[in-house]
Structures are given as C-alpha cells and as structure tokens.
Amino acid sequence: MSRGALPVSVHQLAVDRHRQRVLENLSCRFQPGELTAVVGPNGAGKSSLLQVLAGVLAPAAGRVEIDGNDAAKIPAGERAQLCAYLPQAETPAWSLAARDLVALGLLPWGKPADRDNRVHRALAQVDAVEFADRPVTRLSGGELRRVQLARLLVGEAPVLIADEPTAALDIRHQLQLMQNFRQQADSGRTVVLALHDLALAARYCDRILLLEGGRLRATGTPEEVLTPDLIGEVYGVSCEFRWRDGVADFVPLDLL
C-alpha cells in the first residue's frame, strides 16, 4: 500500500455501543489535503465515528475503506502505521518522561533508528521541548495534551484522527494546534478532528461533518453547514456567524 496521500471513506456505517446503536447509515469521504471537523452535540456519535476510523471500534455494519481497501482486512500493525489516533481522554498509567510517552507513537514502526530526532521534532511542533524530560504526571492538563499531540504526530502517519484536541488548551495553544493541523492537511495528510469549538472549525477546516443523534445531518464547507438555521435546529441555540475574509466569528446568543 502506498504511504502517500490516503483517502478514507466510510460506507453505510452502523456502530453499536453497550448494545445501543450510536451511529446509523453513515457514508462519507475524507480526502487527503483536507482538514475535516466532525461536529455535533454531545452524544451525536463523533467519538464513535473517530474510533471506527482509527480501528479501535469495529462497526456493526458497513465498512471503512482506506485508499479503496477494506480497512478490516488490513493487518492491525500496518493500519496503525496509516492512521494515528488520539482519544478524547488519555490518562497515562505510568509516570513516563514526556519524551518516552511521545516515543510510544512510534511503536507501530518497531524501533526506528532516528527515533530520538523524530521525538524531538514532534515535541518542537507542539512547543513542548522544554518539558521533554519531565514525568507526565507532573505536567498540567494542557501541557500533557500537547505531549499527547506530539505522540499523535511523531509517526507522521498519512491519516491523523484526534478527538477534541483543543480541549484543555489555552487560546494560544489552541490556535497553534489548529495551525499545525492545517499544515498537516496542506502537506497532503487526511486530518479528521472532532471539535466542539465551532469558531475554530469554521476558521481552519475545509469541511464540516455535522452529526445529530447518530446520523449525518449535513456535510459541506463551513459556509454551507454552519448556518444559524442549521445550528439552531441541531444544537437548540440561536447564534450568529460573521464572515470576514474567510475568518468566521461565531457567537452563541441564547437557548432556543
């Protein structure tokens, strides 16, 4: 399988969790070079979709295709080299040094010779070199999140999947992170993020996937999907989007 640009698509996907259907009849495509935000209210099925894409969760029906190949037939180790995934909450069990935690992201490749360099590069990308040697249990929530992001990036997988990557980050690091994902997409990677922050989604993403109650409600460019009418219907919130030079200003106003 080629290691370049990899489109990912899901076909007629259904996912069960605790014997409950959480995603139904979902079909969509994630293109290389595109940054896609999966948005929707709590419980819409964002995390489940991401986990199925990452191969963590097996679909109840339908399939995931990576570059046209059925993902279920790709060996787990090879698939891990293609898709990197960062879950919403990841609590390290041991007090590893930050650089050792980042190195775990290279496990699908065994023990590459340039490991230390790659770990350093990934830490630099998220502005975390200064605490490379600190045990992760002594990092703040935001610092830990950045180290975990470095773990996501270190393998330079063609498909990046992150669940709520901006949660727990201050505004500077939120912007830095989104710019980083933007660069990753611009360099030909397929990037899928679950986001709650619609302003960030509108500003940095090429495509928005709006989920509601386990179904795909709308998909398209931010201008197409993030309209006050649609957001009002799905979230039950009145809001305003002001578009200025492609930068969206999103203001939630009141409960509907």
Binding site: Q51, A54, G55, V56, A76, G77, E78, R79, A80, Q81, C83, A84, Y85, L86, P87, E90, T91, P92, A93, W94, S95, L96, A97, D100, L101, L104, G105, L107, P108, P135, T137, R151
Partner: protein, 331 residues
C-alpha cells in the same frame, strides 16, 4: 550510557552470582565449598553431595521462582495499568494452591515428586481460564480484575473448607506450611519440572512487551497503535499462569515478591513497562535468593518459612510507600 539507574541494574546483575555463592555457602552444616566445587558433579564425598544435590538446586530454584514471581508481577501491573496488581489477583496462585492442598489433603502428594507441582500448574491454568471466561468478550482490565477477585474469593473459600475438614493435624500442618511457601527439601526434580513452564511463560510475557508499553496510554490508544483484540492480553495471561503457576507449584505461595519488586525497579527503567519485565525478573531472583540466605542462616527449632520472610520485607515497604506519598513523591 551509564547513568545511576543503569549502574544499579548492572550492580544487581553482578550481585546475583555473588548471592548464589552465598546461598551455596549457607546451610545447617559447614562444608568445604571450594573443595566440593572442584570435586565436581560426580564426586561421592558428603560435601559434594550436599553442594550438588541439595544446595545448588535449592539456590537455582530460588532464582527461578523469584524471577517468575517478579516478572509475573510486572506483567500483571502493566496489563491492569495498576501498580497495586499482583499475580495472585487473577487467581493464578490460589488456583495452584488449591490443587496442591487437595493433593496434600488426600495424602497423595508424596507418591511422586512431580505429581504435586504438575497438578498445581494445572490448577493455575484452570483458575485463569475461569477468570477469562467469567470476564467475557472484550473485557476491560477492570472487568478482568473483578472476575479475578470473584474467582479468588471462591478459591479461598474452598481452601478454608479444606483446612476446616483436614483429615488430621498432620495434614493440616502440612497444608499451612505449604501455604507459607518454602524452598526447603527441593531438588533437581522440582527445578527441572518448573523450568520449562517458567521459560515459556517468560517468553510469552516478553513477546507482549510492546503491548504493555502501548497499554500505558490506555486501551483505546493501544488498539489504535495496532495492539487491539484479545490476542495480546491472552498471551500475557497465559504467560503469567505458566510462570507464576509453576513457581507456586514448586515453592508454595510466596507473597509480596510479585507486588513489591516491580515497584522497586520501576524508577530504574524510567517507568517503561517493557524493560520492567526483565528488570523485575532480575530483582525478584536476587531478592528471593537473599531471603533464602536469611532463612538458611536463621538458627531456630523450627524452619523459618521463606513466605514469612518476604512478607516481612513487603509490609515495611508499604509503610515506606505511604510515607513517601505523603511527602509528595510519586506513588
């Protein structure tokens, strides 16, 4: 690179043969150690027989059992992502112990030297199989622990029953002493019986080292790194059952090694659950050998059981753990 941690590990490697010599020199009778060593395996002198047929297998058994318990503890803590896990948690030890007790109960144990260890290993595998089936498909670590606690409780109840209805005081004493753990009167038979199980178990655990590393991020992240499915936890569990089951089978239940040793060496391997496996095996072997030297040099009417010694090492360790946690250090 030789930093402080690696230096301590290297010292432990060097200390092991020295402790082995110390164990060979220890015992109720004084022997001419150098003479017996140079006489060789086939010598007929009493010193040589004591050395080659009694002390050497016992010392090597301490190394083997200590290594199995230490590594099993490290694997268990890694798999359950919990520093307080120990092999006994999943019923491995009590499965082996119950099988042994039943044999002692019916007085069949001494019909053949290999019968008790073999059945005890079977008991360990049976207990792990029960835990695995009870936990069910795709069980999380916490569900495995719960299933282990349940099976453990049941096995303990059966053990209590066996003790309660022990046919004679003699059988009861034998059971109690066996439960305390001992390396006394063990020979090459037991060593050679346990060896293949420990080696295969250690190999299985070692094959799962990258799974344990990935698991330090959590189960979902481990799955996304290519370590999903039941294959890896099953390999680790079977490895623990083989190694720890064999250790318990030949030496009885020796507590605290599997719990304390991984704790002690975790800082030396930068908390890496993969390297922790062999480091715990090394430290477990050294600790049990030192404990056995203590037992051998203890002068008293009754034999001091090695399980009691390790418990005496283990309990203060927890005091120290709590005190250091109160001082704000890492648990």
């Amino acid at each position: 690179m030789l930093n402080r941690s690696n230096a301590i590990l290297a010292l432990m490697v060097l200390a092991l043969p020295l402790a082995l010599l110390g164990a060979l020199a220890s015992g109720p009778v004084d022997i001419d150690l150098a003479g017996a060593l140079t006489d060789g395996w086939h010598a007929q002198g009493s010193d040589a027989v004591i050395l080659w047929q009694l002390r050497l297998p016992r010392a090597l058994l301490a190394v083997l059992v200590g290594a199995a318990l230490g590594m099993g503890g490290a694997a268990m803590q890694g798999m359950l992502r919990n520093p307080l896990a120990e092999p006994a948690l999943l019923g491995v030890s009590s499965g082996a112990a119950l099988a042994a007790i039943l044999l002692l109960y019916y007085g069949l144990a001494w019909q053949a030297g290999w019968l008790l260890p073999l059945l005890a290993i079977g008991g360990a595998f049976l207990a792990v199989a029960c835990v695995w089936l009870l936990a069910g498909r795709g069980a999380s670590a916490s569900r495995l622990v719960l299933a282990g606690v349940a099976i453990n409780a049941f096995l303990s109840a059966l053990m209590a029953l066996a003790l309660n209805y022990a046919p004679s005081m003699f059988a009861m004493q034998e059971i109690v002493f066996w439960l305390l753990g001992s390396l006394a009167n063990r020979g090459w038979d037991q060593l050679l019986l346990a060896l293949p199980f420990v080696v295969v178990g250690a190999a299985l655990m070692f094959c799962g080292r990258n799974y344990l590393r990935a698991l330090s991020l959590g189960e979902a992240s481990a799955a996304s790194l290519g370590f999903g499915g039941r294959r890896y936890p099953l390999a680790i569990l079977l490895g623990i059952a083989a190694a720890v089951g064999a250790a318990v089978a030949v030496a009885g239940t020796i507590g605290f090694i599997g719990l304390v040793v991984p704790h002690l060496v975790r800082p030396l391997v930068n908390q890496d659950p993969g390297r922790l496996l062999w480091a715990s095996a090394l430290a477990g072997a050294l600790l049990l050998l030192l404990a056995d030297i203590l037992v051998l040099n203890f002068i008293g009417a009754q034999e001091l059981r090695i399980g009691a010694v390790t418990a005496f090492i283990g309990a203060p360790f927890f005091f120290w753990l709590i005190v250091s946690a109160r001082r704000g250090l890492q648990l």
